[in-house]
Symmetry: C2
Amino acid sequence: MLMTPGPTEIPKKVRKAMGRKIQNPDIEEEFIDFYLMLEDKLKKVYGTRKDMLILGGEGILGLEASVASMIEKGDKVLCISNGIFGDGFADFVKMYGGEPHILSAPYDEVLDMEGIEKAVENDDFKMATMIHCETPTGVLNKLDEILELLKSRNIITVVDAVSSLGGVPVPTKDMDICIGGSQKCFSSPPGLTTVSVSEDAWSVILDGEQRSFYTHLAPWKKMWFEEKYFPYTHLVSNLYALNAALELLIEEGMENVFQRHIDCAESCRSRGQEIGLELYPSEVNLSSPTVTAFKLEGRAKEVQKKMMLENDIVLATGLGDLENDILRIGHMGNNARSEKVEKTMDALQKCI
Amino acid sequence: MLMTPGPTEIPKKVRKAMGRKIQNPDIEEEFIDFYLMLEDKLKKVYGTRKDMLILGGEGILGLEASVASMIEKGDKVLCISNGIFGDGFADFVKMYGGEPHILSAPYDEVLDMEGIEKAVENDDFKMATMIHCETPTGVLNKLDEILELLKSRNIITVVDAVSSLGGVPVPTKDMDICIGGSQKCFSSPPGLTTVSVSEDAWSVILDGEQRSFYTHLAPWKKMWFEEKYFPYTHLVSNLYALNAALELLIEEGMENVFQRHIDCAESCRSRGQEIGLELYPSEVNLSSPTVTAFKLEGRAKEVQKKMMLENDIVLATGLGDLENDILRIGHMGNNARSEKVEKTMDALQKCI
């Protein structure tokens, strides 16, 4: 049983859809119709009317493409962070010639609102990047106020919502770019990253010099939105799977889906506390309904191994400095089922 | 029936493999073992012992990554071409700051060997790019002599063999980079591009400044080859499919596979000539056993439509200037079956 915060277990219906005979995406009109309906489903799950792109690659491609498509030499970017992915955005900014200003909070604390206010007053930022759910710690950031402030200053907002979209409400309204990934709460196979793009973002994307292709969003505007053909042979089978996965979410109803995630998170956390485990971060309100991290100082890897060998349940540890200090349970997407969480916690209780 | 030169029809066994339950590629050791075996299978099909990368994206990602990983501002690149993809390499070179020298032959003629000899004598090229099979016209280029010449001058050789690998012997010996795609002769779903990398190529890749991530090969050396983890969540389901597809090829035996392609090409071409169709290029020795193009001046799209509506057979037309002037039949991979070719030609005969 795969209980990691991505990739998540893929429902049978989705795996079956992936295995259907494929169409030629560049020639068959029926495929174009299918793809347009898929965009609509994604918009429903995102809760947005903005343009929707589906790129053929893993989630990190969406993050890099957002930076590569908008950042030119010398552009100042505010990288708001309280985790590994938040910090990581700065590397992309540097790669593409921009100047990142990293505003870091500790990994188990909220984003530094006061610091953001000061930063945007003192400096002229073209873009700000941030993470909705920091998967490596499970921290879910509250972004509404921050986004509103940034948009009032005409700063382009780029949000990684890879591990929250489809599991938690995402405040997309003031997001110029919002990035998702197929293998997290959508419970579809890895290989697609979804990117919503605002009109403000398109202006910037189309204005600059295009210095890459696969990591650039401009070809999608010129080829797909204007001419209805894809920049490259699209990942047909992966798109069939994503479509089936989104259908399952929409059938269930997003409110029900969100509640299911909350319920699973609550039962996971209370079971954990019952067996003496401490949450990371210790303040439970910071954690996302999609992933729970327990402190297991110096023995996360050992417990992970035991869970795998003795119970056939795959969990994740921390990343970076926390690698051996936290154990993570991904109750997102198709993993957010009470019976799966119970089974996992039963096994964990025996293990510890 | 999909008879396009990619994506090709996917065998049931491959589609079934794609639909299996997934593993976590970053945590499960069994997946690492699986992946190592997959690399070996690819090496067998390539006929090489060089390092093998599998990137999570469509074939064009492999082309871009080869340029992005090795070209720095001002580097001179010889782009040897007799087709749209050959010309297209120059766009990537420009994008990454290099100086392309395009050596073009007409789209229905062989590469300009004399021109290449002169060019490498008069100029100092870091890299040369070329296409083995130009899918848009079906021309298969003879590369042995050219590659030998280039290597004798220490020029890095980059070859797009996307629509020949697995259907035609590819002379990989003097190729520093050789790029394949999952959806052509491998008859696996689109979404993976395979890249073999020589020691000479690695030196150049690791020497330069890394100015991109998803389109760069260096992270694969540092993370995968040295540390055995992937730069991003790999496309697990697509890898299962590719593995099953390669198994089918290896079971059949590459010599048999190549002969099957030759037989299908011959029967397709002789049937075409019987019904009065002219080959493009008219010199049959130029055409690849993987794809046949027939001249249908001004009515390729009409015939394509008729084939689709009346016979449910999807064919391709030309690209660019030849869009409405040639009709292409992809008898590659799982499409290279005599019964499929016969059925296609029966229908085409009725259509014309």
